[in-house]
Assembly symmetry: C2
Homo-oligomer: 399 residues x 2
């Protein structure tokens, strides 16, 4: 048995990782941040191309410095990487390697627990501290060409899996059985099976299937729509109802096939559905066409929201938009390593669209007694407007 | 369409919830804690029987007080529950309802982010603060009869799903395909599909299938064994290898069928495996028999570890125990709402076994070139020793 140690940062990723570090440094400089010490899973992945347990230190004058706790066995040649048992070893290691101990350090206040941040602060008793979130969110918001390639691959896999959905449906299936078969198809297509999301206000398996009136059940989570789920410990998504004619079923399942994700929603129907549902679905598509046209660098994110609302009100569908009983306060969100990245597309957003942002837009409606309708695509912001990475027919098809 | 509002705490759960609050209050008193304000998902579920977005306040002289942000629409009759938009409303609500504003508050330092804790501290400018973790861990460590019933149900479902595993296997399957079919069987059996674990150092889909030499691949995560996974963003579990004769495949998949979980590992083989693997597997079973016998209230948790090591060393298997290339520092852990509860069974543990603790014990071995062997059961600590809730044949069966 040959045992080759894996390169900590594979040769083909080194330039990419340095480019990301440069991007972070530029924003650090703009934000008046002296150094950034990262430990959160998504930022560890962003700054190294892999998940390891430990820390990434970004300072203005150095390549990233990695402190690895686990796993053992990386080949770290050519990278500034040190094995540690605990963060308290970091200052001495820096000194031994002639790297200045930073006196102003940003930590992930929105990501690490109070205990973790307090411990790291004690490691650097002389330093002042700031929040790393504004810098890291800003850096990760605009994707590199490599990241866009990863997400484009996600979108293609997700479409391939969705293509099999009509073949999965069987009469008298429950929404949950339907969802389980979709999960299987996604996994066989290469879906990693883990929804990486920031914070503790989104818990879910591999996404959500919303059939009929369950689409209107309010959820505690921060998803666009709810669903009651099958247990009070996880109140979201399919509720185990048998699917009958006259209703829609909305599929918003996981698109994570590598460290990145795409986010796509499509709707199917069982038998005929009321005109109101069809009208709302076409309104969603009209909104997306408008967003695709105006969504260019320099456009205000809040104006995307306002523009969508204008169309919804014109069509007198506001009562059903983004939920009926309980409404979501956004119509889309950034996507990347995490499913809930910046910018959030809300009326209060202060963000401006930037080239190579990746955003999911999900104008959805809940029609009482019928179900949810609407389309969600993931887009790249380009000079020509929004470019979809989820190319899949948008019409409501019969199951 | 009838729309009955769900009771915030269903009648049949009220006594249980009050009993848990009393348990927390008793430990608060012992720990010198004036009040506890909880927001973490597991503790919200523990103190209410459901997941909602908001806060639970436990004070010595009151029933639990709930502050609900989302979802809307609960029937809160008979419960001290208030709808809020943000935590800053809590002090006024307390005053309006003649509940004293606590001046000593424990918050979940190990669960909430630095930002969340800082925000809550600012809500109570007059208060002193402490960490809620010791109190809540202690309270949740010993299960109520209701919780034990829930976990027993989990164990039965998990066994039912595992029973189908031999029928899933097909020649020349990859370990990942095998895992995907097990996931489907688990989900169809009622598995909720979400692994609730504390902290960010465990990310996984529905558990882990470890085939052959992949069992020895070190992981960054805090699982007992590793596996390379199929992507550097999620380096754990199945790596996509085709399964061949002469190897073992270890199945350690999710047992969460309600808000609680059971944790169970079994091993299958493809063709014949070397005697060393069989010997190590039998050693694992010998360890479990010993643990079952000595694991009574009053026994030191650290001594469980030492006792297991004694058997391992007697059989000269230490080199393979709890990993070969990278070793885990524990042989088991508490299980309940979360998969990684207290006590952790480590040589440094200061805990003592208590009646109605629920612990998973997983003495596992990695045999180089062959794969992982060993058994994991979830147990209840009783006066008669450990009682398993995962009654499934322990022998290595052929697939």
């Amino acid at each position: 048995m040959t045992s080759e140690r894996p390169q900590f940062i594979p040769a083909e990723l080194r330039e990419e990782i340095l480019m990301r570090a440069d991007r972070i440094k530029e924003i650090m400089d703009h934000n008046g941040i002296g150094a950034i010490l990262l430990a959160g899973n998504a930022n560890i992945y962003y700054t190294s191309g892999r998940f390891f347990r430990g820390y990434t230190l970004i300072t203005p004058d150095s390549d990233p410095v990695y402190f690895i706790i686990r796993p053992i066995g990386y080949d770290t040649e050519g990278v500034k990487a040190f094995y540690i048992r605990k963060p308290e070893q970091i200052p001495n290691l820096l000194t031994e390697n002639a790297i200045a101990i930073p006196d102003h350090i940003a930590l992930e206040y929105d990501e690490l627990t109070y205990s973790e941040v307090s411990r790291l602060k004690a490691v650097f008793p002389q330093a002042e501290f700031a929040d790393a979130a504004p810098t890291m969110r800003r850096a990760r918001m605009q994707k590199t060409p490599y990241e866009i390639k990863m997400m484009t691959v996600d979108g293609l896999h997700q479409c391939a899996a969705y293509r099999r959905i009509p073949h999965i449906y069987k009469e008298d299936m429950t929404d949950l059985e339907f969802q389980i078969e979709i999960e299987r198809v996604l996994r066989l297509e290469g879906c990693l099976g883990h929804s990486r999301m920031a914070g503790r206000l989104m818990e879910i398996n591999l996404g959500s299937v919303l059939y009929g009136v369950n689409a209107d059940a309010p959820t505690p989570y921060e998803f666009a729509l709810g669903g009651a789920g099958v247990d009070p410990s996880l109140p979201v998504g399919a509720d185990g109802s048998i699917m009958h004619a006259g209703h829609t079923v909305m599929v918003d399942m996981n698109g994570g096939f590598n460290g990145y994700q795409s986010d796509m929603t499509r709707v199917w129907r069982i038998g005929d559905i009321p005109d109101l549902a069809v009208k709302a679905h076409e309104c969603s598509r009209r909104i997306l066409r408008r967003m695709e046209e105006i969504g260019k660098p320099g456009y205000l994110v809040a104006d995307l929201y306002h523009e969508a609302m204008k169309i919804v009100e014109e069509e007198k569908l506001a009562d059903y938009f983004m939920g009926h009983t309980q409404k979501a306060g956004f119509i889309g969100h950034g996507v990347g390593i995490e499913l809930n990245e910046q910018p959030a597309i809300t009326p209060r957003s202060k963000e401006t669209l930037l080239d190579s942002m990746t955003i999911a837009i999900e104008p959805k409606f809940v029609i009482p007694g019928v179900g949810a309708v609407g389309v969600e695509n993931t887009y790249i912001v380009t000079e020509d407007g929004l470019r979809s990475i989820t190319p899949f027919p948008e019409e409501i098809q019969e199951l």
